[in-house]
Amino acid sequence: MAEESSKRRRSIFDLIDEYFENLEAWAERVRETIMERPSWNCRTCTMEPLRDIMVTSNEVIVTVDLPYAEQNTIQVKPVSSDTIEISAKMRRKVSFDDFGITHYRGEFQRFHCQTRIPVPVYMDRMEIRFKRGILEIRLPRKHEYEIPIE
């Protein structure tokens, strides 16, 4: 009931504000996608893994490529209602020298990344498995409302 009355109280200005907030959030996501940055970070000694997201009718499947990852160090944490943070320690330290690069200095022993989940999901019902160096995270989708078919 309270929710209904609050909906009724929303003025055109509230709607405009909400529209611009959504637009800003969208622009931020686009900026994040477009912004080029290295796949490594010398300050935090981390490498950003390759990852992929698939949305199916009942779940979201996130996969992450984690070569050299130690299985028992893999951590997947929800950091907000739509973002998860993934980290894992590598079995060996990797330096730029290993890639034949001598003009940068740095060593890496962790993977780290944050990934936004594009649709509402139940974070607390997350299922995780690790096979052939690929981490697979399954998140059941939240279907918050349904439109009845007449």
Binding site: D52, V94, I134
Partner: protein
């Protein structure tokens, strides 16, 4: 009258497109650094799903000790050089020995460059009397991490080449779409009457896949007799996956623009 006007315009546009394609080809030069053997097999390892072709090519170069015999020079290419030991190299190069010529790209290629690049390489190979062209690549498969045994499929430029693959026990990719350098290669070789084959190993779409590259090389040996020991490739799998992350990321971006996912589409069969 209207129809004549339309067909004339269509013909003009077609001629213009052919001219533009020829002009693009002319803008690409292949500079030879060594004497090129006649009658070799020409292979292609270009960035695509799972980086199968590039990983296979890179392994072949080190295992067979292939040397750079030619490189591509063109203003169409992005303004990129690859530095090796402080010296500049073209991102698209041809390596070889007496039996094999291997064209490889060390950078992801934009979709619009694939036609002129592939046409130039094939025209060049044809001029060198290449006896067969083979493109090494991948075919993405869902839940790849659950597959214990990877299959390799083949598509060919002619029924004769298809039979060669079938006789060697390679499954044929019967229906579907193909997107990327191997698609252009098959079509162009078919038009020119050049024997050509594409080997496609089941692989990850978005992750470098050294196992798939090893599988493709095994089938390459089966078809051509060019044997490459893949044990080191499999041993170094994790190292390769780590090294190939950035190239995979760039390739993913180009594959998205190229609509690579069309390969998942079910075609409407028109005989």
């Amino acid at each position: 009258m209207v129809w004549h006007g339309f067909s004339a315009t269509f013909l003009q546009l077609t001629h213009k497109a052919i001219e533009e394609d020829e002009n693009l080809n002319e803008e690409i030069k292949i500079i030879e650094r060594k004497e090129i053997p006649k009658g070799a097999i020409m292979l292609f390892g270009f960035p695509d799903v799972g980086l199968v072709g590039v990983i296979a090519a890179s392994h072949m170069i080190s295992e067979l000790g292939l040397e750079e015999v030619a490189y591509m020079d063109s203003r169409l290419l992005p303004p990129i050089i690859v530095l090796h030991e402080g010296l500049p190299h073209s991102p698209v190069r041809i390596f070889g020995n007496q039996n094999v010529l291997l064209a490889v790209s060390e950078t992801a290629l934009q979709g619009e460059l694939i036609y002129p690049i592939m046409h130039s390489l094939i025209d060049w190979g044809r001029g060198k009397g290449v006896k067969m062209m083979i493109s090494i690549s991948g075919i993405p498969v869902q839940d790849r991490q659950d597959l214990e045994e990877l299959k390799v499929f083949a598509a060919a430029s002619s029924p004769e080449m298809l039979k060669i693959a079938q006789d060697k026990g390679i499954e044929i990719l019967r229906e579907g779409y193909m997107v990327g350098p191997q698609a252009v290669m098959l079509q162009y070789c078919s038009t020119l009457g050049l024997p050509a084959l594409t080997l496609l190993a089941q692989c990850f779409f978005n992750y470098p896949d050294p196992e798939a590259a090893a599988k493709a090389l095994e089938q390459l040996a089966n078809v051509t007799g060019v044997k490459v020991d893949v044990s080191k490739l499999l041993e170094k799998g994790e190292e390769i996956r780590l090294k190939a992350r950035d190239m995979m990321k760039r390739t993913q971006q180009e594959l998205t623009k190229m609509r690579k996912t069309q390969e998942y589409d079910i075609p409407l069969y028109i005989s």
